[in-house]
Symmetry: C2
Subunit: 368 residues, 2 copies
């Protein structure tokens, strides 16, 4: 349950470090944005049908270079369905992914419990899944899921050469390739390639509209037309065929129009911020040079004291840093995931560094 | 896919027969309603947590007389989860429901394919599930689902005596009772009992916020606290833990405030309309006297010609009757489900009868 004190302090902040900031992230702001977009004669979608949703799905399929696409409420639903379809088509119940994969860590093992699939974890907790890791897999695989970028390790991306080598390895073995593109929009600038070119390496692709794009919620799964037709059957089984999804669809359209073109700027800014933060004692950055618009900051100091300090900094400066940190791999470090969006774009590098310096002064790590 | 001609005619209609009418049912109208409700300092829900959603779940639990409740995107998700939890607790994989149950007909057999449950169909297609039908069940049951009212047969309700006898039968056998209350709001006036009193017969209850209440989407599953805690785990597995559900939650609050108090009036009006329509040749009404705010109208004439005629009536009168009919049990009859909401409340009984008379003239059933 949310901490009321934390929520109250956050509500009084006018700026923030991560994502798009309080002026965009309130329900009032997000609802006003979609309400302004909607014309009086727009008809609602009905259980997945209608011009609005079908038109948006068509746009997304084209953008991703796929035959078809379907709008779904969550990535959890999209990706379990994708792997289930590939497993049913290919035969084996084994599907492979990185140990920090969302399906393995954040979905209460839905892929196992609902779909009877077996996860094969490939690669190490702290590094990218590599071709050499795949060579050690003994189980027959239906599908291989790759997450671009790999969020759990600070948003890292394989080189294009490594990526295409992995893809070739899977193709040669008849293994379906699924792209967890929760942050695919953020990856394109790094590769200097179009979304369709990156998606083209994969049989199916999931993309999300919140996170970097900042929509209310929702995602798209794209792939061959027959695959998307099957997805719609599974969508109904999962309870994802919501009578009206228009608030999410409208919000996704608005978010794409507003932020897809900013991804290069966010990533450039992430690298500049990282360069500045490397000069602040008590912070270790993963990856050292961000590849996309995110990075993991391992902060020195006891987790609870850092959290209290961030609250104090927020009260003093009006800038929201973070509420709860994640425990780090060693007791002396806690993890803050910094995603550069509209919020950080409004702050100076020195101002951001100053927030962390103030934080460490409060926990007694650095001298004032 | 929607018929563009049909959509265009519908868009030009200013009134309607069923539900709440074009002035309420456009995305623009629904979004304006929720946007007007939201205060600038309201914080968003996050993956099912936050004051807005928790407060609404508390209200719904209280209204339904249950320990706890959880807001979910769809009834499909809610009810599969409910039956799965009861099956896991009780042991048998068999769960019983009416042959017109939503789980059996409209969910692509998710309860079987995702949850490994076996459906036992109890009662006949055209009548209510009765105590005597239950006595013929040979399989051991974990749960019995009752739908109040039974939508597939025109919204019929068992008498309170029959209902409590069924409940006692299940209780004596240790079978969990789940209420499909998609239209529970609509049932309370018939029984002259509170929602909590009706829900009190059941271990778990699902209620919907669209349909009779006219919200954008969403539902609540209510029951014992431990059951709801388990539901949240399954919600995540299903992909129902949407990052932000606030558009739906706000809309549900607005719809409850606006329409819960109108259910008696809707039902009274349904009975008056049925009484008037009985005088129109070519219509058979199920049930003859509506018990809630809905009824099934079996219309004489070929389905396609009736549909064309309704389109012509809509163009001439500006009142939307229906788009597509459901095929009836015999070729000479097609089914139109009439749900009385704000839309029908704005029409006179004679005006409604006149629409059907005009319809039959066009298909050549009645003389002009």
């Amino acid at each position: 349950m949310p901490d009321p004190n934390l929520a109250a302090v956050r509500a009084r902040c006018t700026r923030a470090l991560t994502y798009h900031g309080p002026s965009h992230e309130s329900p009032a702001a997000m609802l006003r944005e979609v309400t302004a977009l909607v014309s009086d004669d727009l008809a609602p979608d009905n259980y997945g049908e209608g011009d609005l949703i079908a038109g948006f799905e068509r746009e997304m399929a084209d953008l991703l270079g796929k035959e078809a696409a379907v709008f779904l409420p969550t990535g959890t639903m999209a990706q379990q369905i994708a792997l289930r379809i590939w497993a049913d088509r290919k035969g084996p119940r084994h599907v492979a992914f990185h140990p920090r994969c969302h399906l393995e860590l954040h979905e209460q093992k839905g892929y196992q419990v609902l779909h009877g699939l077996h996860g094969v974890l490939v690669g190490s907790q702290h590094g990218l899944l590599a071709l050499e890791d795949l060579r050690t897999v003994g189980d027959p695989l239906s599908a291989l899921l790759l997450e671009l970028p790999q969020r759990g390790i600070g948003g890292q991306l394989p080189t294009w050469e490594e990526l295409t080598a992995i893809v070739s390895w899977a193709r040669e073995r008849g293994i379906a390739l699924h792209l967890d593109g929760a942050r695919l929009w953020e990856s394109a600038p790094y590769y200097g390639r179009s979304l369709a070119e990156i998606s083209g390496l994969f049989d199916s692709v999931y993309v999300s509209f919140y996170k970097g794009l900042g929509a209310i919620a929702g995602c798209v799964l794209a792939g061959p037309a027959s695959f998307i037709a099957e997805t719609r059957v599974w969508q109904r089984r999962h309870g994802g065929t919501v009578v009206h999804l228009f608030p999410y669809v409208l919000s996704a359209k608005a978010a794409l129009a507003r932020r897809l073109g900013r991804m290069q700027a966010y990533a450039d800014r992430a690298r500049a911020i990282a360069a500045r933060l490397r000069a602040v004692p008590g912070i270790e950055i993963v990856p050292e040079t961000p590849q996309v618009n995110m990075m993991h900051l391992y902060l020195q100091g006891p987790k609870e004291r850092l959290e209290e300090a961030a609250l104090a900094v927020a009260q003093e400066t009006g800038v929201w840093m973070f509420g709860k940190l994640q425990p780090g791999p060693i007791p002396s470090r806690s993890l803050f995931e910094l995603t550069v969006g509209d919020a950080a774009m409004e702050l100076e590098d020195d101002e951001i560094a100053g927030l962390f310096e103030a934080l460490f002064v409060k926990v007694g790590i650095a001298a004032e």
